[in-house]
Symmetry: C2
Subunit: 655 residues, 2 copies
């Protein structure tokens, strides 16, 4: 008996070893895919090819490897891997199997459709390269979303905040319902024709509408960055896409939560809809609050130990995500607002070295995660086992996605233009329409649940939508830009003051009106933020003793960090919201420092507009970054701008 | 029927959501543990407490949380989670279960001992915080090991290479067999007394010997770094611990591979032993070759795009690991030598910004992974389900570990001292004996397979060994240092030439003899490396046209990069092996640049030893880093040493 069990142990060990080796090989496939992508994209960048972005390339390589895995490699049938059918009347999460006296534990992996049962053992290898969908949500999406928030160009973002919020909230909801309704029509038609094999309810259609409403124009924005496209267009597109991911996630989970009472679970019911709406509001604001709360946390004393500081920053950001998920909120939304808040407050408290480290770390994580997701998308087109490609549904989906995007952009732009002085011109509208790419978020949402027939069909269709938009729309960006005659080569740092000669006086007055447009809400927020929040949360800004009324003196002294007095002169210069650079243009965004030494600096920097600026906020909106660069060069970092002798200028070119 | 299946889908979704929320909460526990550890360790560092290292602290917090999870939280019995027993006669990896016509797929999780069957459902929550052991090997260990290799202080390492190799290879094997034999005696005794419930063979004892022979003195080294302990002692201890991890991994896998032919599978057999020995050699050299091969890869042109460069570097390092694992070699060994090679060659080809980025990235990953493992260790003492604590075995193991370490250090030191001029003094020997901590590697090896009774007993015992050594030996390091009167406050950069006045002439002659000791093998390697490998693999060193005989002219011109000519003067200064700083002392290790402009620099730097140096290698061994610093200050980085005005000196203090 002893020998038997020993032999059995050896067999078990062998099996485990084999499985581990297979796991490594699978992971290696992806790593090599990414490596290949990086090398190719380097070549493209070197040669200045712009028709294919790294994410599109990652998808192509993923596709190729998927084809090879599916058709090229024949894995011999594993004899020891017999599949047993045992008839029971429930499907628990854990199953104990009694094999001649020994107990083995099994965990539920998922349902398999009856006609796939025979394939299971053949496709063991294919199924191994299929990741748990939760990996995307828990590991890969957080850094991408956080990076988006952390690198949001806040100055331009705030200038267009009203429009961005309208596109992101109203627009996404419109798009979701338009797509949902169109798809429901399509599904009805399919039922008539007899093309539908399973259930497909209106909530499923709406769910589909929600997931394909999350745009991800990473390809387009990369090109915008490289070509230095108009900053307002950039801000509109980037802001919209960042926020509508958040809206789409919460929307899709509210739709899933829609459950009317009683037996007839797929009819319309007001109470259930109100409940869903309540869930939407609750989850969104909860996630928002959580993210902001974490982002606001300050690490004051840790500056001495950069490694600890960076590690803590990383962990705090991740824990925001997990905390939100554990509370039943939406981690993606929380982490997005956490990123925005951290860039606004926490960033100022970090040591200069940690500022660099965190920027670079999240840039790298974002790059890796994004390309991983896109190459996985390519791979999964061939390796996913339960694809349901229905031609009618696919055609309907493409049409619905197109119309949904149009129903978002054009009517909203029309309405917004009624209020905006700086109109969103029609070529900008067309560009935004064209740039409605679908990407990582749409994919992650659709792969999260592929248990039912409806969801499988959605997943397969979503994949095709992503492929099409990334390749066709992404690849055609430069053509579209020149076709729409959109101004390129605008240096966002210099458009205000340095390249004064390039700008007409008309634009100067336009900027003045932009100020008025964004001011009404933003001005209140700005004053509150600058006078109270910044001094409490960071070491920058005026000490509270100066901004609070005299009666609050003790409180003010308690809340103001000692550093705010001690090193005030020094930190005033340090107090810049340098944010992530996602390209080789955009650099420094100072949006706080109200210099007390008068406007002498500004006049010397941009004499043409000296008259147009009247208050702190305005000066900041207009001159923020230039002012910083000026003072930075003068006082703070005298050596950073000069090249070390051994670095050629092109070495400093950022990707 | 439709309604039924719809309801079922909803239930499935609910279940999935609940499970996801639970996953997030579990991960959050660890993130918060790490956050807490960081905050506490910051306090300790701030107050200069040295009795507890961050890893020890992480374990304590882990323990506390483990206790709370085990005893504090009562999870209501999940009704839907009924466990079914179905009697079949095999345990396949995949199981299909037919539940009233629907097929569900289950995957094998592991064997459960008969008396644990009833606990399974109660402890669902505890089992959730238990990670798949492969996570440690595929995700957490690689960055730790790579970082060790990448940050190896090569100058001191090479100076003591002979001794380090002896301790690491011979010493680990000795320790493994001594512990194995002692444990076998202990097990025999336990059988006599009737304390043993399961099988425990001699190979199991040897396996235990192998896994507890991997030392991990991270705690001790951190203190060494902080106190600036003698560099030779540091090099011996660090080098030994880095390499013996590699040896222990390969040793343990060769022991597992020991399988005599025939029925009687636990007797001694020469052929099987030779086969195991062959496996050891094959796996080790295979991993070594793979690691070196990947490390040697050069990224020449990518310097323009730092993000791509860093991403590629990261992926290459990881793929080395996976490739080795997929080939059946040992990833840890491969990644270690990959790190050493990359620090030696690839590092020189990176752009300065990428050099910083990669250093900081791996520093961070190492920090996070290490503390995660240690806090998991603390947690798992209470949450692991199959602990087997056997008092006799534990006492025996502690004794064996102690004796095994002694049998490694003292006899080998005696033998080495016969050959060394720069003797390993007895206080160094005691310190090395004392610093035989067990850590991440031992833990990862022991948790990898806990299927059998013997392995479970080993795992539980190993945990206790790690706890004891990290807390007691780690905590007592400063006491031990002062008790053994080991010199502290030695600045490794300045001990050669800058702080000349502090050193006696006697030490000067000692250094000369060190040179002779290490020279015989190293000199050949050094010349080959400097004249041929460096020019081919990096842009540094003399062009091949200068070092190869004239007949090889065309080949030499083909292999030498154009940059080697163009920017030769520049790169000569750039050609420094600045490696990772793991503390606030240690800085720069130049070990290549043979300056052609005579020894004028050296004489000015260290006039006392001008006569002692006679050739390139020697000059480098003695003056390498100082020379670099000198030239660095003079030519290369004129601005890096001067503090930016807004940074206080203590802000630059590294952790």
């Amino acid at each position: 008996i002893h020998e038997d069990s020993a032999m059995e142990n050896i067999v078990t060990e062998k099996k485990a070893e084999e499985s581990h080796r297979q796991d490594s090989a699978d992971l290696l496939i992806f790593i090599l895919l990414l490596t290949l992508t990086i090398l190719t994209i380097w070549l493209f960048k070197h040669r200045r090819f712009r028709f294919l972005h790294e994410t599109g390339l990652a998808m192509i390589y993923g596709l190729l490897v998927g084809v090879v895995l599916r058709y090229g490699i024949h894995v011999p049938r594993d004899v020891s891997n017999v599949t047993l059918s045992c008839h029971v009347n429930a499907s628990p999460a854990t199953l104990l199997v009694n094999v001649s006296g020994k107990f083995y534990e099994y965990t539920l992996k998922g349902e398999i459709s009856a006609n796939e049962v025979n394939d299971v053992q053949d496709n063991e290898m294919l199924r191994k390269v299929t990741f748990d969908p939760e990996v995307f949500f828990n590991i890969l999406l957080p850094p991408i979303i956080f990076h988006a928030g952390y690198s949001l160009k806040r100055r331009h973002f705030f200038r267009n905040m009203g429009s961005i919020l309208a596109y992101a909230f109203l627009g996404t909801v419109i798009s979701c319902f338009i797509i949902g309704l169109l798809m429901y029509g399509c599904v009805m038609l399919m039922k008539q024709v007899g093309q539908l094999d399973g259930d497909f309810f209106f909530t499923d259609c709406l769910f589909f509408g929600a997931i394909v409403s999350a745009t991800d124009p990473v390809t387009v924005l990369a090109i915008f960055n490289e070509l230095q496209v108009d900053v307002d267009l950039y801000a509109l597109l980037f802001g919209e896409s960042v926020l509508n991911d958040a809206v789409a996630v919460v929307l899709s989970s509210s739709i899933v939560a829609y459950q009317p009472e009683g037996d007839n679970s797929h009819t319309f019911e007001v109470m259930a809809m109100l409940k869903s709406f309540g869930i939407f509001l609750g989850v969104f604001s909860g996630s928002f609050a959580l993210g902001v709360a974490t982002g606001v946390v300050t690490f004051t004393k840790l500056r001495d130990f950069q490694l600890l500081e960076t590690a803590l920053f990383f962990l705090m950001s991740w824990s925001t995500f997990l905390l939100a998920e554990a509370c039943g909120f939406t981690g993606v939304v929380a982490v997005l607002f956490c990123g925005i808040t951290q860039a606004h407050y926490t960033y100022n408290n970090l040591s200069p070295e940690s500022q660099d480290r965190t920027k670079q770390l999240f840039e790298l994580l974002n790059f890796l995660a994004e390309n991983f997701i896109f190459s996985y998308m390519g791979l999964t087109l061939f390796t996913f086992q339960n694809h349901v490609f229905n031609p009618m549904f696919i055609v309907g989906a493409f049409l619905a996605v197109f119309l949904g995007r149009a129903a978002n952009i054009y009517p909203l732009s029309f309405l917004l233009n009624l209020g905006r002085r700086n109109k969103i011109r029609s070529n900008f509208q067309h560009m935004m329409m064209f740039a409605g790419l679908r990407g990582a978020m749409t994919f992650a949402l659709s792969i999260r649940d592929t248990a039912t027939y409806a969801r499988q069909m959605m997943f397969s269709t979503t994949l095709l939508v992503v492929f099409f938009t990334v390749w066709i729309c992404g690849g055609g960006t430069t053509q579209m830009l020149s076709c729409q005659r959109i101004r390129v080569g605008v240096d966002s740092d210099q458009d205000n003051s340095v390249s004064v000669s390039l700008m007409s006086i008309a634009e100067g007055s336009e900027r003045r009106s932009t100020k008025q447009e964004s001011a009404w809400l933003f001005r209140i927020w700005y004053n509150f933020d600058h006078n109270y929040l910044k001094p409490i949360l960071t070491h920058s800004g005026p000490p509270l003793t100066a901004t609070l009324p005299p009666c609050c003196g003790p409180l003010a002294r308690f809340l103001t960090s000692p550093q705010a007095y001690e090193v005030r002169r020094q930190l005033k210069d340090d107090d810049s919201d340098l944010i992530l650079t996602d390209g080789d243009i955009n650099l420094t965004y100072g949006d706080i420092t109200v210099s007390t030494d008068g406007s002498g600096t500004h006049t010397s920097g941009g004499p043409a507009f000296a008259g147009a600026t009247s208050d702190d906020l305005d000066r900041e909106l207009t001159y923020g970054d230039h002012e910083l660069v000026m003072r930075g060069t003068r006082l703070v970092l005298p050596m950073d701008d000069s090249e070390p002798p051994f670095t050629d200028p092109h070495h400093r070119l950022r990707m």
